[in-house]
C-alpha cells in the first residue's frame, strides 16, 4: 500500500513539473512570435441587404424604430472592406491558443453581436442577452463532427450561458423566436482573427514558419493564401471576395 502512495506522489510531481515547463516554455516562445495582418475587400458594390420586418415582436421593432435593421450577410465598410470574415491558419498543429479575452455573443436589439464569433476549439464563450424580450439560442452543428447541438432560452435577466465547441466547424446559430436572427460560431484550430468593419484583421501569436491562411465568409466562400512569418515581424495577407 505505502509503495503505491509513493508512486502516486512521484507521478503527480512529475506531471506538475511537466505542466509548469510547458507553460513556461510557451511564455518564452511568445517573445519570438510573429503575426499576420491584412485587409479583406469586397470586389464591387456591396449587395443590397434586405430590411428586417420585426413587427412580430414590438420590443424589437421599437428598438429599431429610428435605425431600421438589415440582414448582415455582407457588411461592407466605406472603403470596400468586408467585415465578418474569419481568418485562421489551415492545418494548425501547434498548441491551443491561450485566450485572455472573454468571448461574448450578445443578443442586442434582436440581432446577434457579433454576427460571427470566431473561437478556438475548446475555448469557452458566453452567450448573453441585453434585451427585454426572450430569445432562444439554437446552434445547428453537423452531428458528424462531434459537436452536440443545443437549444436554450434566455429570458430577460437570465445570466449568461457559458459554452464551448469540441470540433472545428462553422456552425449556424439561430433564434427560433425571432426567425430573422442568425449568426455563426466559427470554430477553428489555432490563432484566428475576424475582419472588422473596414476589413482589417490581425492574427496574433503566430510562431515563425510557413503557413496557409484561410479566409472564410459565410456567403462568399473561402480563400487561402500562403504566408511566411518571421520571428517578431508581421506578415501580410490580403483577400478580395466577390459577392455571390
Amino acid at each position: 500500500m505505502r509503495n503505491r502512495h509513493n508512486l502516486a506522489v512521484v507521478l503527480s510531481a512529475v506531471v506538475l513539473v511537466g505542466c509548469a515547463a510547458l507553460i513556461l516554455s510557451q511564455g518564452v516562445n511568445a517573445a519570438g512570435e510573429g503575426k499576420i495582418t491584412g485587409t479583406v475587400k469586397l470586389d464591387g458594390p456591396a449587395p443590397h441587404m434586405k430590411g428586417i420586418d420585426m413587427s412580430k415582436d414590438p420590443y424589437c421593432s421599437k428598438a429599431h424604430a429610428s435605425d431600421p435593421a438589415h440582414y448582415e450577410t455582407y457588411v461592407a465598410g466605406a472603403n470596400g472592406g468586408l467585415a465578418n470574415v474569419v481568418l485562421y491558419i489551415d492545418g494548425w498543429t501547434g498548441a491551443a491558443q491561450a485566450s485572455n479575452a472573454v468571448l461574448v455573443f450578445d443578443q442586442r436589439n434582436c440581432m446577434y453581436t457579433p454576427h460571427v464569433l470566431a473561437m478556438d476549439t475548446g475555448e469557452s464563450f458566453k452567450v448573453q442577452t441585453s434585451d427585454q424580450t426572450a430569445h432562444n439560442i439554437h446552434p445547428n452543428p453537423n452531428p458528424m463532427t462531434g459537436n452536440i447541438p443545443w437549444n436554450q432560452s434566455q429570458p430577460p435577466g437570465s445570466p449568461p450561458v457559458e459554452k464551448s465547441w469540441k470540433a472545428t466547424e462553422f456552425i449556424p446559430v439561430k433564434c427560433n423566436i425571432h426567425p430573422w436572427m442568425n449568426g455563426w460560431f466559427a470554430v477553428v484550430k489555432g490563432p484566428y482573427a475576424t475582419s472588422d468593419e473596414n476589413g482589417n484583421f490581425t492574427i496574433n501569436n503566430v510562431p515563425p514558419g510557413n503557413y496557409t491562411v484561410t479566409a472564410w465568409h459565410e456567403a462568399a466562400g473561402t480563400q487561402t493564401q500562403k504566408v511566411t512569418v518571421a520571428a517578431g515581424a508581421a506578415a501580410s495577407a490580403n483577400f478580395t471576395f466577390k459577392a455571390k
Binding site: 426572450a134 445547428n140 443545443w150 429570458p155 435577466g157 437570465s158
Partner: protein, 594 residues
Amino acid sequence: MHDMSTHAVPHGAPTSFIRKHVFSIDHKVIGKQYYALALLAALIGMVLSWIMRLHLGYGSLAIPGLHLLSKNGAPGDVMTPEYYLQLMTMHGTIMVFFVLTTAPFAAFGNFFLPIQTGAEDMPFPHFNMMSFWVTFTAFLVLVASFFTGTGPTLGGWTQYAPLSAIGDVGGPGEGLGVVLWAASIAIFCIGQLLGSLNFITTTLDMRCKGMSLMRLPLTAWAWFITSIMGLTAFAVLMPACLLLILDHVAGTSFFRPSNAVINDQVLPGSGGSTLLWQHLFWFFGHPEVYIAIVPGLGIVSHVLITNMRRPMLSHRVLIYSMGALALLSYMVYGHHMFVSGMNPVSSLAFSFPTLVITIPSTIVVLIWLGSLYGSRLRINSASLFALGFISMFISGGVSGFFLAQPSIDIMLHATYFVVGHFHLVMGVAAMFGIFAGTYFWFPKMTGRMMNETLGKVHFWMSFVGAYCIFMPFHYLGIAGNVRRYQAFTDDYLIPLIPVHKFITIAALFTGFAQLIFVYNLIHSRFWGKVAPNDNPWEGTSLEWSTATPPPHNNFGDKMPVVYHDPYQYSVEGASTDYVMQTSTEQLKNTDEEK
C-alpha cells in the same frame, strides 16, 4: 368437467416484511401502496403547479432555489419558457395518470372492491402485485426524465405529433424526454390492464353468497364500469406510444410529416400523419376523463348515502347512468379535435353525442339532489367533500355545454376556459371524491380516525380556494386567454394579468390546505384516535361488517352471506336505522333489488 373453482387459490398470511409490505399480493396492501404512490405524485404535481402559478402571476419574480431543480431550465432562478412547458407537461401527466387514475380507481378500488363483493382476495393476486409495481416503474421512468440533460418533454400531456416525434430539434426534452414519457405511459398501460382484469373478474366471479350484481354498492359498480373503460382505452394508447417510440429510435415516420423544416434544415420523415396521433390519443383520452371521474361518482354516492341515512332514489338509474357515461365516452372523443383540421362534418357527428352525454350526467346530479331532499344529512369531513364534489361537478359540467359545440369551440378551444372546465370537473371534483373516500374509509383502512377539525379546515380552504382558482379561468378563456403560454406578452392579454395574480394567490392558499391534509393523514395514521368500532359511520355495505382493519383474508373464518340491498337505511319497521347487508333481519315494505 366444470369443476373449476371461481376463487383464487387462497394464500396464507405472509410473514416476512418484504412479502407483507413491499411485494405483497394482498389487495389491501396493494391498495395502500397505490394510495401512497398517488399521494407522492399529487404532492409533486402540486408543487409543479405552484411554481407555474408563481411564474404566471409574477413573471419577473425569480423563485429562489429554482436553479437547484434545473440548471438549464432556470439559470439564476429565472424560469425559461421551455422549463415552464416542461413543468406543465409533467404536472398534467403526473396528475392525470398517477393521481386521478391511481387514487380513486386503483387505490380505493383495490382495497374495497373485493371486500364489498365479499371476496377473500382478487382472483389473480400476483397480477395485482405486478400491476402496482409496473405502475410504480412507470412513475420512476417518468420522473427520471427530470434528470436527463435536457429535462422532460415540453409537449404537453397530450403530446401532439409531430412536435413529439421530431426529436431534440423541436425543443429541449423532445428527444430523450419524449421517449421516457412514451415508455412510461406504455408501461402504465400494462399496469392498468392487469388491474382491470382483476377488477372485472372480481366483480363478476368473486361475489359472496347472496351478492347479486344489483346488490353491489355503487362504488363497486363504479370501479367495475371504470375497469371496463380502462381495459380498452389503455390498450389503444399503448400501441400509439410504441409507434411514437419507434419514430424516435427506429427511424420510422408514423407521426413525422414530409418536409418539415426547422432551423433551415429539412428533417427526415416521410408522409407520417399528425392527425393519427390525435385520433389514437383522444380515443384513449376521452374515456380517460371518465376513468378519472366515474369512481368519484361511486365514492360520493356511497359516502352520501351513508351520511344521508337513506338510499338513492334509484340504485339502478345511477348504475345505468354511469354505464351510459362509459359507453358514450368512446363516441365523443372527436370534440377535442374540432379545430384540428379534421373533416368539419365529423365535428358535428362528434358534437351530438357530446351534448347527449350531459343527459346521464344530469340524471346523476338530479338523483343526488332528489335523494338529498327529505334526507337526514350528517355533516362531517367526508360528507362535506362529497357535497363539495356535487357542487364542483355541476360547475365543471355546465361549461361542457360550450365546448361540446364546435361553433363556440372556435372561440374557446385551447383557452383557459378549457383549462377551467376540465380542472373543475376532472381535477377538483375527482380530488374531492378522493378526499371524501379518504375521510370516510380511513378508519377501515388504518383502524384510526382522521382529525375532524383539521378535516373541516381542509375542506373549507379547498372548497373556497378551488372556486377562486378555477372560476376565473373561465373568464380568462372567454376573453381569449390562450393556455400553455408561459408569459402574456400579447397586447390583449396584458389587462388580464391581475386576474392571474389573483389566481396565483388562491392557488398557493389552496395548496397550503392540502399540506394540512397530508399532515392530518400522517398524524392520524400513527397517532390518531382509535376507531371506536368496526362501523363508525353506521354503514351497511360489507366493508363495515368485517374487522378493522380487515384481516388478511378480509372476513376471517366466516365468509359473509348477503341478504339485503347495499343501502338499507331508515327502513320502516327495522330494528335500527340501518340494516347491514349481512343482517339476517327480515324486512317488510321494501322491494329489494334482485
